[in-house]
């Protein structure tokens, strides 16, 4: 499928550009946007270290593999590489890990020690990874504009901003891109599934310290995981709710649904510059009729 300019919208910017996306600001630097590059690096690093001040080495304990002195993945874990989504903010994450990892028995015990405000701080460190992803998306959008000969084009809204807005409030990115009613429907769908998950689990489904792997998916709905970090996460658990498993799955499904919402918000803004060729999609025809 090609757009109206005969460009393939599915064609990426290549592996080097993809890899550069892991270093906030590098794509902007490559594009000659020096001040935006500095802003990207500074904002992502500042947000990560703000959360790190509270959670510190406990972040290692929330990774996909936990360094325990015997695992073959220890070297990766010591660099903080299995910790998602912080890994998307690669330089600050690795620097923080190098500075704070302590492989002694005391250090490993400290990783297991809960901290005050760790729910909120865990969300903040994760937000740095998501922020890095949105900066990378902004860089890729600029690269795409240059590659397809539309450097001066102005989209209805910045696609990366639309995706970022949808991370916090599902559907807000669509409203920004001009599809307000569709955004309300998509946002409501995500919010209802997430709320059902919290209700069925008595509020305990979204807890990074307890269900860290599920939390990676749940955090794709940033507004929901922030609510959980502030309100339901710190709630005292007296007994395991009977439908805890159902609640955890529903909240994770809501996060994955929001990933689709974010990608669609990006696409809606993108197509204001690169529309599909005539007859390319029902959405364009409906958009023309609306």
């Amino acid at each position: 499928m090609v757009d109206a300019n005969q460009n393939d919208p599915a064609k990426g910017n290549g592996l080097p550009a993809f890899i550069m996306g892991f270093v906030p600001g590098l794509l902007q630097w490559q594009l000659g946007q020096k001040s935006r590059a500095a802003l990207a690096l500074a904002s992502c690093s500042a947000v990560l270290f703000l959360g790190w001040l509270v959670v510190g080495e406990r972040l290692f304990y929330w990774g996909l593999t936990v360094p325990d002195g015997s695992s073959s993945f220890d070297n990766l874990a010591q660099l903080g590489l299995p910790v998602l989504p912080e890994i998307l903010n690669l330089p600050a994450q690795v620097l923080g890990a190098l500075l704070s990892f302590d492989g002694s028995a005391t250090g490993l015990r400290m990783q297991r020690l809960p901290r005050d405000l760790e729910h909120l701080a865990g969300w903040v460190t994760a937000a740095s990874g998501m922020l890095a992803a949105f900066w990378a998306a902004a860089g890729h959008w600029q690269l795409r504009l240059r590659r397809d000969g539309a450097a001066g084009a102005r989209p209805v809204a910045d696609p990366a901003l639309c995706a970022g807005l949808s991370w916090i409030v599902p559907g807000l990115g669509h409203a920004r891109a001009g599809q307000k009613d569709k955004g309300v429907v998509m946002g409501a769908a995500v919010a209802v599934v997430f709320a059902l998950g919290l209700v069925f689990s008595d509020g305990h489904a979204v807890d990074r310290a307890q269900y860290g792997v599920w939390w990676i998916g749940q955090n794709l709905f940033g507004g929901g995981s922030l609510f959980a970090a502030l309100v339901t996460g710190p709630m005292r658990s007296v007994a395991t709710p009977i439908d805890l498993d159902l609640g955890i799955v529903l909240c994770t499904v809501a996060g994955l649904m929001n990933l689709v919402v974010m990608c669609d918000a990006y696409t809606v803004a993108e197509r204001s510059v690169f529309p599909l060729a005539a007859g390319g999609g029902a959405a364009e025809q409906e958009g023309a009729e609306a």
């Binding site: 599809q179 995500v190 159902l246 649904m257 919402v261 696409t267 958009g287």
Partner: protein, 64 residues
């Protein structure tokens, strides 16, 4: 009772997931909701087919 409860949750959630999935091919809320109803129906049928197949496999390999 627990199974009934799970089915009661499953179908509305399926509809909400369908809303998000089909919205990618539509630009208006109206068209999205209509398409989601059709898609949910199709997914429910496939869910029943999957459930029956798994039950038959269970009967075949494990027994009643």
């Amino acid at each position: 009772m627990e199974l009934l409860f799970r089915i009661a949750v499953f179908v509305p959630v399926l509809f909400l997931v369908a809303l998000v999935v089909v919205a990618q091919q539509h630009a208006t809320a109206d068209a999205t909701v209509k398409a989601a109803v059709v898609r949910t129906g199709r997914w429910v049928v496939w869910s029943v087919v999957l459930l029956v197949s798994m039950t038959l496999l269970e009967l075949l390999f494990i027994g009643w």
